[in-house]
Symmetry: C2
Subunit: 414 residues, 2 copies
C-alpha cells in the first residue's frame, strides 16, 4: 500500500476566490511522482477552530499531512500558534533560523524588526526547516510514524523547501519501491488525435505500465509510470518509448523534464545558431519564455516588440504600403519581420508574430485569435496562419507555443 | 451570519496533480460576491466511500454543498450512484434531459449511444438542472433547509449551469446580507513594514471590519471585509480607507480589482503618454505584463530586448566605451537606454532594465540579483539600483514590478 497523504491549504484568500491555489496542485504532482498517494486536498480559512479540527481529522486519516500557508508575520496568520496548541508544545527562539533570517535581510539591505525576529520562534516539538527564499521557516513534526509538515504559502518558498528537504525526507521514510516515470513531450497535436494514433500501442501496454495524457496550452505530455526504479523497469519503459516514437516522432519536442523553451534553446545551441524575434501581438511573451532559460544569451540576440506600425517600418523596414494593403496581421508582414529581424539583429534565425489577441481589433475577415507566424533562416523564409479561439492571454500563450514549434520543425528540417 | 458553503471537487486527476482545479476557485469568487461564505474546499478521488463520507460531513457542517466532477458516462465516474445511495432514492429516465442530450448530439452531428441516454437517468429525489453545453445534467437536492448541488467538472459546462441556475436559486434562498470587500493595493514595501506603519490604525478598526494582508511578488494588498453591502457599511469602510491612506499614500498604486499593469496603463492613458521599453535581463517580461492589458496599444509603442551589447549599441546608440568601462549592468547604461528608447521609439516615457538575473553572470561587485532600472521622460532621466536575492525567474518578476513602480512614482511626481 502506498503511503497516504492529505494536503491542507490555509488561507481566507483562497476560500474567497482571490488566490488560486497552485501549491496543492504542484505538491500533488511531486508526491505522485514519488509514489505517495494524495487522498484528499482541503482548503480552510485562517480560523483556529478549523485548523485544529482539520489537523485532528487529517492525522487520523493519513500518514503524511502537508500544510501550506498562514505563516506570515502578521496577526491574521494562525498556523504556528495552532500547531503549538495542537502538539501541546511551546515556542523557542531558534538561533540557526534567526541567523538565516538576518542574513536574508542583510542581503536585501532591508532593516529587520521584532516581528521578523519572532519568525525564528519555533515550536519545541518540531524540527525547523530552513527557508532559503523567505523569512518563515517550515516545521516538521513526527509522531507515531506519521509526519505533519507546515510550509509557507508563497509558492517559490514552498517549492524550494519541498525539493531541498521535505521530498527527500518523505522518500527516505515512506518509499520502498520508487515510482519510475518517463515523459514524452509533444506539441502541435490534440489529446484525442494523439490517442487515436497510438491506440494500438496503448492497448498493448503491459498492465504494470500506466499511461497518462497531460495536456496543457497546445502541448500534450505522455507519462509512462511503473513502480520499482531498477535496470529492468528502465529498460522495459525505454522499449515502450522506442515502440511508440516512430508513430508520433514529428510531434515530439523532448523528454522528461525538458520544457518547450529549453528544447528550443538546446536545439539552437547544438546548431550554434542565434535567434532574434519580432513579436507584436504577443507583446514580449515569446522573448520572455526564451529568456526564462538560464544561459539563453548563448542562443538569443534580442527581440523587438513593434506594437505600432511605425516601429515595424522604422526599426525593421517593413514597407508601409504592404501594411496598408494587407494589414499588419498578414503573411507578407510576418515574412518581412522575420527576415529583417534576423538581418538587423545579426542573428541566424528570425521569428515573427503578428495577430489579433483580442478582445478588440477583430473583424469578419480576421477574427480575434487570427495569428500569423513567420520563420526565417539562411535558406528559407516561411509563414503560417493560426486561428485560436480563446481570450487575450490564452491567445498570447498559444501563439508563443506555436512559434516555438515552428522553430523546432524548421530546425529539424535543415 | 452569512450562509456557509463547502465545495467538493471529485476526481483522481486533481489528486494526482494532473489537472489544476480552477472550478472551486471560480465558484468561491462567485459565492463570495453574493455574500455566501465558503468555509472549506475539499478534493477527493473517484471512490465510493470517500464521496459518501464527504457528503455526510459536509451536509452536517454547511448550508450549501456544491459538488463538481465525476458525472461522465464512463464507469470510473461515481458521483451519481453515490448521490442515489446517499439520498436513498432511485434513478428515473427524465424525458426533458433526454431531449436536451439528443439535440446536443444532433447539433454536433455525432451518434448517440446507450451510455449517453443513461445520462438522462436522474435521481428521483433531485430537481435536474439542464446542461446546455454538455451531456451531463446537474442535480439540485434540498432537505432540512440545506442544498446539495452536483455539477459536471468541465469548467464551461459548470460555469454556465452556475450562472443560469444555481447562483440565482442560492441567492433567492440564502442572501440577506452580502459580504462587502474593498482592497488597497500597495507596492514597494513589505508586509511587515506595512503592518508596522499602520499598526495603530489596524488596532483601532472596529471588530466587524476585518483586515487581511495579501502579499505577492513585491506587492501587498490590504483587504477590508465586512458583511452587509449597504450605504452605511460602504461609508464606514471608505472612512477607514480615508484614515489609513495618508500613512501609506506613497505605496498605493490602486484599489480593488486593478492590477499593477492596469494601473500603469490607466496612468499613462490619463496623461495621454506613450511608453517605450528597453529591457535586457527581464527578456520581454515587462513588455508582456504591460501588453497583457487589453487596449494597451493606446499607451504602449513598443519595446526592445537588447540581449547583446551590440544591439544596445546599434539599436539604441549606447556608447560601447561606456559599456566597456561600467559594464552593461550600470547606471550610465540604463540612463542611456531609457532616454534613447524614448526618443528612437517616439514615446513620451522610456523605461530600461539591465541586471543579472542569474544563475550565472554574477560577480563580487555585482552579485546575482543586481538590477539597474532607468526612467526617462521629457523633464528628467533617472536611475535606481535594486538588489534582489532570489532565483532567475523571481528576479525577473521582481524587476518588472520595480520598473512599473518607478513609472508610477515618476508619473505621480510630474
Amino acid at each position: 500500500m502506498p503511503a497516504k497523504a492529505i494536503l491542507i491549504s490555509i488561507g481566507d484568500e483562497i476560500l474567497y476566490g482571490q488566490t488560486l491555489d497552485t501549491n496543492s496542485h504542484w505538491i500533488a504532482g511531486e508526491l505522485d511522482s514519488l509514489g505517495i498517494r494524495v487522498n484528499k486536498k482541503v482548503t480552510i480559512g485562517d480560523t483556529r477552530e478549523e485548523i485544529i479540527n482539520q489537523l485532528e481529522e487529517s492525522e487520523s486519516q493519513a500518514d503524511i499531512v502537508l500544510i501550506t500557508g498562514g505563516l506570515g508575520p502578521t496577526n491574521d496568520d494562525l498556523t504556528k500558534p495552532c500547531l503549538v496548541e495542537y502538539f501541546d508544545t511551546h515556542l523557542e527562539r531558534n538561533e540557526e533560523m534567526l541567523k538565516n533570517i538576518r542574513s536574508l535581510f542583510k542581503k536585501a539591505g532591508r532593516e529587520m524588526s521584532e516581528v521578523h525576529e519572532q519568525q525564528a520562534d519555533m515550536p519545541a516539538a518540531c524540527t525547523p526547516i530552513a527557508n532559503n527564499m523567505g523569512t518563515a521557516p517550515g516545521m516538521w513534526f513526527e509522531r507515531n510514524g506519521k509526519v505533519i509538515v507546515s510550509m509557507p504559502g508563497v509558492p517559490y518558498e514552498m517549492r524550494k523547501m519541498m525539493s531541498d528537504t521535505v521530498l527527500p525526507k518523505l522518500s527516505a521514510m515512506f518509499i520502498k519501491d520508487a515510482i519510475y516515470h518517463r515523459m514524452i513531450r509533444t506539441v502541435g497535436i490534440g489529446e484525442s488525435a494523439l490517442a487515436e494514433i497510438i491506440k494500438d500501442w496503448e492497448d498493448s501496454l503491459p498492465s504494470h505500465i500506466k499511461l497518462a495524457y497531460l495536456p496543457s496550452m497546445g502541448t500534450v505530455k505522455l507519462r509512462l509510470t511503473t513502480s520499482g526504479e531498477n535496470e529492468q523497469t528502465k529498460k522495459e519503459v525505454q522499449e515502450q518509448i522506442d515502440n511508440v516514437l516512430p508513430l508520433i516522432k514529428k510531434y515530439v519536442y523532448g523528454f522528461d523534464d525538458e520544457d518547450m523553451e529549453e528544447a528550443i534553446g538546446r536545439m539552437l545551441k547544438e546548431r550554434n545558431l542565434k535567434l532574434a524575434i519580432a513579436e507584436s501581438c504577443t507583446g514580449g511573451y515569446l522573448s520572455h519564455k526564451i529568456t526564462s532559460v538560464a544561459g539563453s544569451s548563448q542562443w538569443f540576440n534580442g527581440s523587438l516588440v513593434p506594437y505600432s506600425n511605425q516601429l515595424k517600418n522604422e526599426q525593421l523596414q517593413v514597407d508601409s504600403k504592404i501594411m496598408e494593403e494587407h494589414g499588419a496581421v498578414s503573411e507578407p508582414v510576418v515574412l518581412a519581420l522575420a527576415k529583417n529581424v534576423r538581418k538587423v539583429f545579426k542573428a541566424d534565425v528570425g521569428v515573427s508574430i503578428s495577430g489579433i489577441a483580442g478582445p478588440g481589433g477583430g473583424s469578419e475577415e480576421k477574427p480575434v485569435g487570427t495569428v500569423w507566424i513567420g520563420y526565417s533562416d539562411e535558406k528559407k523564409t516561411v509563414a503560417k496562419k493560426f486561428q485560436f479561439v480563446r481570450d487575450r492571454n490564452i491567445n498570447i500563450g498559444y501563439s508563443a507555443v506555436a512559434a516555438m514549434n515552428m522553430i523546432r520543425i524548421n530546425l529539424d528540417k535543415d
